[in-house]
């Protein structure tokens, strides 16, 4: 029976503009930034999943993702998440049921695949990530004087 993985409870998360997210663990007092594909993994881990479930999901979600490299990426990401005490593993039954290991998942038709990235942030890094510039605010319609022909 394949091991299953699931996110631990009691974590807080804040979404990023690029589709990633930042997770805070009160237990370890760590902020962890996930890129878009790692966030995808993370969202799937709200229920118990096998490694194979996760590989299949990524392959079906993104384009250009072969199952072998994705499997290696998933293993590394799970190892990182477990090391940071964000995910626990247990022997059990997967949420979606295991996929046949011999079958290549159908290709995805979404955005290009990027390796899931899990990065620990210091407090200053966190503040750096969550900034908004005048130009971005001005997109809402010439905020203050953010554009040449608009005005304050």
């Amino acid at each position: 029976m394949a091991s299953t993985y699931m996110a631990v409870t009691g974590l807080e998360a804040a979404p990023l503009a690029d589709g990633g997210t930042v997770i805070y663990s009160p237990k370890t007092s760590k902020f962890v930034m996930l890129n878009r594909s790692a966030e995808r993994l993370w969202s799937r881990l709200q229920a118990a999943r096998t490694e194979e479930d996760l590989v299949r999901d990524l392959c079906q979600t993104y384009t250009g993702a072969g199952s072998d490299p994705v499997r290696r990426d998933v293993q590394l990401a799970l190892e990182s998440l477990r090391g940071l005490e964000l995910v626990r593993s247990q022997p059990g039954v997967a949420g979606d049921g295991p996929a046949p290991a011999s079958r290549e998942p159908p290709p995805g038709n979404g955005e290009p695949y990027a390796t899931p990235a899990v990065q620990v942030l210091g407090e200053e890094d966190l503040l750096k990530v969550f900034q908004l510039t005048a130009a971005e605010i001005s997109v809402a319609g010439c905020w203050w004087a953010g554009c040449r022909s608009g005005n304050p």
């Binding site: 902020f31 503040l127 997109v139 319609g141 010439c142 554009c147």
Partner: protein, 266 residues
Amino acid sequence: MQPIATKVVRGVTLRADPAREPCFKVVQEPSELADFADMSETARRQRLHKHVHNEMQSMEMAAQTLADFPDAPWELRMSLARQCWDEARHCRVLHRRLLEIGGRRGEFPVMNFEWSITCMADSVWARIAIQNRTFEGGEIDLLKRLVRIWKEAGDPVTAEILDGILADEIQHVRFSNDWFKRLGKENPAALLKVAAAVHFVRGIARALEPREGETNAAGVDLTAFEHVEVLVSPEDRRLAGFSDAEIEQAVLQETAIVGTSTGTPR
């Protein structure tokens, strides 16, 4: 925090407008504003009129935060109270200048953009993340440019007023950054409020983004404007307590926005 009155603009729930004197016409979308595209006499009055109203909102936001979060740390409340004093002074100085150049309150429509967003936040940390670190952080970059615009337009008096305001706004951003640094050591979980607040503002900015060809009440095409050159003012941001890494990130973000805008980067 007491329950608050809200309004919905383009599908986004925002805090209901603060009270305004009958002379003001309050609008809800940028397209209803009469923002001009030049520095004509009318445009100058409109620019100062908008600035007066923005300072008024700044005072109201800081005051509302004091009222909504009576249990916030005393030193933070003192900083917010001082900010109210500063913003009120800015409002009076700019209003006096508006009268000098022939303007009057209520000549142009106004929008409570910053108030409506900032005062939705349900924690004092999110409030100062939005008002001080984000809006006023952006404002210190813009004020630098506005000083130059008014000087180039032959109005050193207004330019000097804006330069004085800039010094105060740097301090408002600085005290918020000082608090976030302190928070990072004492209560790191609260920093996530900053993250959520910035995400909220970003979502609203996108919701209010002008549609292709949309014009405002002055006939200005809101999607055809030119973005200014990279605005981030590293020197002032450093004075305001941003780290070099934060400034570098802000420059990168702004460059990305200007590079992908519909307008012409300058």
